[in-house]
Symmetry: C2
Subunit: 507 residues, 2 copies
């Protein structure tokens, strides 16, 4: 520890430990805002967030960080490329260099515009009027251009935006990938058998008091490793998951008393997110590697639990009798087959977050295409609503009746989150690739799931994916886990197989 | 704003706004730890607290703060002594000067010893063995000496400790005050009629499910201004209140299912604390004046609601029929008279936090005397348990059976909180003085309370006490509110009157 390299490294870790603490604190503020905070506390909370953000940014851009990195680099370069210390230094450099490129005034403008943009979006939605949102959106695009200009080395300015959410992802790679995804999905969706149960009611519709729902989903999660000594589950409006620190993982769900569908599948989804956060090796807690590696990998874990586990035939075999016994009046006659067949059905619809597995990614492909065109200037903000409606017609064959069920449905653009949508589909693609690898390693995983035994599954995910945190960039992690590059085929293969199995493919 | 004074002042306010945000964030972390946090999250939370503390300390002791204060001072000196700006500058200087006097290493040692001391206390309690606590306590006393030595100008080293909790309070003032309190209380307690209801059961004992208790106390607080848009009430082990920010005040209580006593009176107590936090003028939010002025004033507000309101005859008249109707089986026969008489009874006992109004302050007088002797070296740590037991016998006539019910009952000393106990009694004394002033200004306040109408009371407290925050030091605030110096007579007068009224004084 008397060498300058290791000494600088130790100093870097001390500083980044504080940054990790600030991230955990920010996560708690966010969780609290979504679950506990009295509504009148919103203004104070906004100040608290802004102050945390300013402090973290100041710490990251402190010139001493650059000096320490310069002192640590020559030493790190002598280490094995896989050495944890070397990965640490590389991640710190990445964070610092991204932070110092952006002038503090621009960062402040961006934060301010996010608040205003969310507000404009909320008002426009309430009025069902895109016109009230257009200026805020135009402002976000302008700010994103100025942000991207801080990184002149990027091959494409949109790469800069992607990199914030999915490190290393580029337009050059995304375009052909989403083209293949679209070309694979459109015929699947077009060829699927339409129509539901006749009366339109789903198998999980009925009357379910929130307390009974909570008891059921809690027991379901507990059977799969949710432990109240280290986890929480609370109600909210829009479900989310947050890791607050080691031993403190928080899920939220929404209890819609007219159906169990929302709570059941959102709990599985958020549980997947939570397992990722909770599964990171405690030895790298409070270090730059102790976070999650990308939104795409994060989403791969949530979608894996929601769809590849939760909407699978084996899981339906396990959960259906439990549902029937917990809710004998509403669900006494529920069969695994009905749950599985209905949960797999293809129903082109207007709202992304309610979309089925087959159509979901077409919603994302459309958003990605539109935001890339907006950002590159080949689509104007004023043309956006018509382009949205035309895209929905072309991709999904649905007619958009109004802005709320169309271009105004998502908060992302108002908050300045451009380049974020693609990660949803990246996650879906990864989930199928990871699932194939898992089935190679644990051939009886589905049989285990049909008995409600997910221990081997969780162990495999933790060992192969979760524990590494940010040690590997997302694409390298995928390669290490699956031996493959990111591709659409495993997902399309999974989807075709499932639809055929559930009887949804036309003759 | 182009003058150097106002410019420095604006810069100071910007920096102290961030400090206020950090205080609110710390309050949220604390609240969460006591109500929501999964137990396994404790270690992460400790790191988050330490990081927040370090950041706040670094911001306060930043040399730029001193430079800005020096630039603002000459300008502030030209303002009216009551001008808000002048008070602001004075409070900032006070905070900065206290922070810069203490070397960072000593501050870190103190924080570390607090964690270790709490741990040693917990273990000693579990083993009911003071011997396991003595080293930790000796260490706390040593650290407090080193801390006090950072302020060589103090007339008495213990004044330095007092000042952290009750700004301006000195040994010179405290000694005669507590002497008078003790001399007043001992004969009152000795002369009071002993004995309870015969079978030992209190009027609020019985079986009360937590949900029913929560519904009752929530309705009770709502009748007095608790509004769920800006307040929360959650269960915890040891009740507390926290202001998180404007529009976000959080109370906690404990539901002991064998009695309503705990939830009812702890809710009133914490509501008093909460009203103080919530009543601070929003215009001084996020400024150095936007906090509370002392622990004594804080406690005066909680005890006012718990005892002068909650255990008064008029409040019993309002609440008793509501209790009887909410819990007809257990409390159907409850009369206001029985509730009042029992709630006023003098019962010398071992545990401070369960003590009645008459004996409570003798517990505090004993602790204050012991810690002043420990701190000045006239009592050794090893002599402490015997001195405790002798004091309890002398002041209250009770025999201490073991350390858990004696010297180990409070967490304060283990956590290094020496100089804190006196503020409990200061608060009780102030509450009686404030109550007399209130009754002069609002002569029908008791009649209003008997109808469950506390609006005039709350308005008066907000206008006279709460809204000022830290604008006035505690003794100046008391003078402005009551026209008096701190004294024991109003409290003794209140107590004698109440005991006579309830029939507890001997013939």
């Amino acid at each position: 520890m008397t060498e300058p390299g290791p000494r600088a490294y130790a100093a870097l870790l001390e500083r980044t430990a504080a940054l990790a603490d600030l991230r955990g604190i920010g996560a708690l503020l966010w969780w609290d805002q979504g679950t506990m905070m009295p509504v009148a506390g919103a203004q104070s909370r906004a100040h608290q967030f802004a102050t945390l953000e300013r402090i973290a940014h100041a710490q990251l851009t402190d010139p001493e960080m650059g000096r320490l990195l310069d002192a640590a680099d020559p030493w790190a370069a002598t280490l094995d490329p896989d050495a944890r210390e070397r990965r640490m230094v590389a991640e710190i450099r990445r964070d610092v260099e991204k932070a110092v490129r952006v002038p503090a005034e621009l960062a402040a403008e961006i934060a301010h515009a996010a608040a205003l943009g969310e507000h404009a979006w909320t008002e426009a939605r309430a009025a069902n009027d895109f016109g009230r949102f257009r200026d805020a959106l135009a402002r976000q695009i302008e700010l994103r251009h100025r942000y991207a200009a801080c990184f002149p080395d990027a091959a494409h300015p949109y790469d800069v935006l992607l990199d914030d959410f999915e490190p290393g992802l580029t337009v050059a790679e995304l375009r052909p990938l989403f083209e293949a995804l679209r070309n694979g999905l459109v015929p699947i969706v077009a060829g699927a058998v339409r129509g539901g149960d006749g009366d339109g009611a789903g198998p999980l519709d009925g009357q379910f008091p929130a307390d009974a729902q909570r008891a059921f989903v809690t027991a379901m999660l507990e059977a799969h490793g949710f432990d109240s000594a280290a986890w929480r589950l609370d109600p909210t409006i829009h479900p989310f998951a947050q890791g607050i620190g080691v031993g403190d993982t928080r899920l939220t769900t929404h209890y819609d008393e007219s159906t169990l569908d929302m709570a059941l599948y959102s709990c599985l989804h958020e549980f997947g997110h939570g397992l990722y956060e909770a599964g990171i090796d405690p030895e790298i807690a409070r270090t730059p590697l102790g976070g999650t590696t990308s939104l795409g990998v994060h989403e791969s874990q949530s979608r894996l639990w929601e769809n590849l586990v939760g909407r699978s035939r084996p899981f339906c075999e396990w959960i259906a009798p439990r549902l029937a016994s917990a809710f004998p009046e509403a669900l006494g006659g529920l069969t695994p087959e009905r749950l599985y067949v209905d949960g797999t059905r293809v129903r082109p619809s207007l709202i992304r977050i309610q979309a089925d597995e087959s159509t979901y990614n077409l919603h994302v492909v459309l958003r990605t295409d539109l935001e890339m065109r907006l950002f590159s200037g080949t689509l104007t903000v004023d043309e956006l609503p018509d382009a949205w409606d035309a895209g929905m017609h072309e991709l999904l064959g649905v007619e958009v009746p109004d802005a709320v069920r169309g271009v105004l449905q998502d908060i992302h653009w108002g908050a300045g989150l451009i380049g974020y949508f693609p990660t949803y589909s990246i996650g879906n693609l990864m989930s199928a690739q990871i699932w194939e690898a898992l089935n190679r390693d644990v051939p009886d995983v589905e049989e285990r799931i049909s008995r409600g035994d997910s221990e081997a599954l969780r162990h495999w995910l933790r060992e192969r994916v979760h524990r590494h945190g940010r040690t590997f960039p997302p694409r390298e992690l995928l390669r290490r886990v699956t031996g493959e590059e990111l591709s659409v085929e495993p997902f399309l293969r999974y989807l075709r197989g499932k639809l055929a199995d559930a009887g949804h493919l036309g003759a």
